[in-house]
Symmetry: D2
Subunit: 164 residues, 4 copies
Amino acid sequence: MKLRILVTGGTFDKEYDELTGSLYFRDTHLGEMLRLGRSKLELEVETVFMMDSLEMDDSHRATILAACLRSPEARLVITHGTDTIVETAAVLARGLAETGKTAVLTGAMVPFAFGSSDGLFNIGSALSFVQVLDPGVYVAMNGRCFGWDNVRKNRELGVFEEVG
Amino acid sequence: MKLRILVTGGTFDKEYDELTGSLYFRDTHLGEMLRLGRSKLELEVETVFMMDSLEMDDSHRATILAACLRSPEARLVITHGTDTIVETAAVLARGLAETGKTAVLTGAMVPFAFGSSDGLFNIGSALSFVQVLDPGVYVAMNGRCFGWDNVRKNRELGVFEEVG
Amino acid sequence: MKLRILVTGGTFDKEYDELTGSLYFRDTHLGEMLRLGRSKLELEVETVFMMDSLEMDDSHRATILAACLRSPEARLVITHGTDTIVETAAVLARGLAETGKTAVLTGAMVPFAFGSSDGLFNIGSALSFVQVLDPGVYVAMNGRCFGWDNVRKNRELGVFEEVG
Amino acid sequence: MKLRILVTGGTFDKEYDELTGSLYFRDTHLGEMLRLGRSKLELEVETVFMMDSLEMDDSHRATILAACLRSPEARLVITHGTDTIVETAAVLARGLAETGKTAVLTGAMVPFAFGSSDGLFNIGSALSFVQVLDPGVYVAMNGRCFGWDNVRKNRELGVFEEVG
């Protein structure tokens, strides 16, 4: 079973610019994370773009959906900023219906480059869920897996929870 | 859904003793790993014992099985040294048959305390597989999940692979 | 020989706020850094304040100088943001002349909390220079020690260099 | 002022072999440590050998001394296992007398590769002491600098202290 990881940026991949003291994107850390995790999964890593999910609009989500649709692999993990991960999940759910594809979106609360990241845990989790779940769109965060239409980010606590 | 993690030691939890320059066990790092991973799973962490899996004998495996049998939770993750994880999986498979329990064993190639561990990735993976797999005994390593009777450790490469 | 460390903030002590995605100050990491470094120096750590050195004005520098003057220890290390560390050094040089005190200012380009910090290296360096240098005011960065009136930050390269 | 670092191994540079679960030497981490520390010192790094200092005998110490003697730089930092660092310091003190050279030996209690190392702190310290101390042989550990004939390792506490 071959998988595909679509990288879209988010906290996952933020870095610290020591000249300006600000956070920015450079290259994705997914490759290094998979190496640290000793992943032996057969998979492709594709960078769609690298952006803060607060800056995404409909056209960006259409680009992510297009990348899912043209993927030859039926099982997809999408790394994404947590702030609008639920909005993107809804777009993918509509666009991927009837395609038989399983898409699991995941993110991070702390940049991988800052050492104490939840990113390594989350990518291990998302890559596992995507191998066994039925076709559909899901959000994997906090060790849990939510259906795309039953999840929200609790911004006060920084955790994901069911809507209902 | 409530889970239980049974800790048995292994590379996962090895530490460096700076007075002697050797590796040893102290307390498990599972709690810190779950905190770093921002896990919000409902789960119990139970330390069965802390040992190198090369030193386990039948009585140790019987103790692990007993802990599985008396667990009120039907979904179990077991952290274990990788050298004999497959032997323990076989013992659990026989002992847990017909109990309806799902047990996922996982380990690490590098101690969590040494920074670049695969442990965080593997625990994220094992906790995800255990939530969705049918009753049975599995080994989760390298991002993959193997049935207990179709896995071996390739000691030259340090990776897990199918037997067949 | 007893030393004193005066903490004033700077990149050294910045943290990542995972709820807002921004950088902020909480408590100083000096204690943890001294523990990691296995420092057995007799010293006091005093937090003067925690701020970005770009926001310091004359009154803040007067507060740092006052802390130096009232210190019973004659050898002082001051952690400071790198952007205006040279300005503060000049204020201290004038105010500490004839007091017989040795003050070494140091900073960091990367927050300690982000893992790959230069802070541990710099604090080891500053604490060493301060023990052996004659009275005066110095800036210790990049493994080097500069007199207060012969140093500037090269903002393009992010390194300190002589003026002359 | 140009410096030279002589690498001889020790805990500083130990690595974890994930196939055997044991500690071993590969390449020195000095270059990476200097990069992390943003060192801008003019220096040469020379690997004399990589060994556990418990295994050193007189011939190994003669080799280190020879490297010191032929060094064109008068200021030398020597990384060394802590167990016999004092013995080597004594050999160097005799051999370097009247040469005008300043040699500072330093080590680590925790391998750099294990993340929470004292190595970065100690190398920052040793590189600073060596720039300002008079000719002679010293041991820099725990933020302190000891004359070669007034230091011992307290093996119970894992710290260095004066003999007297």
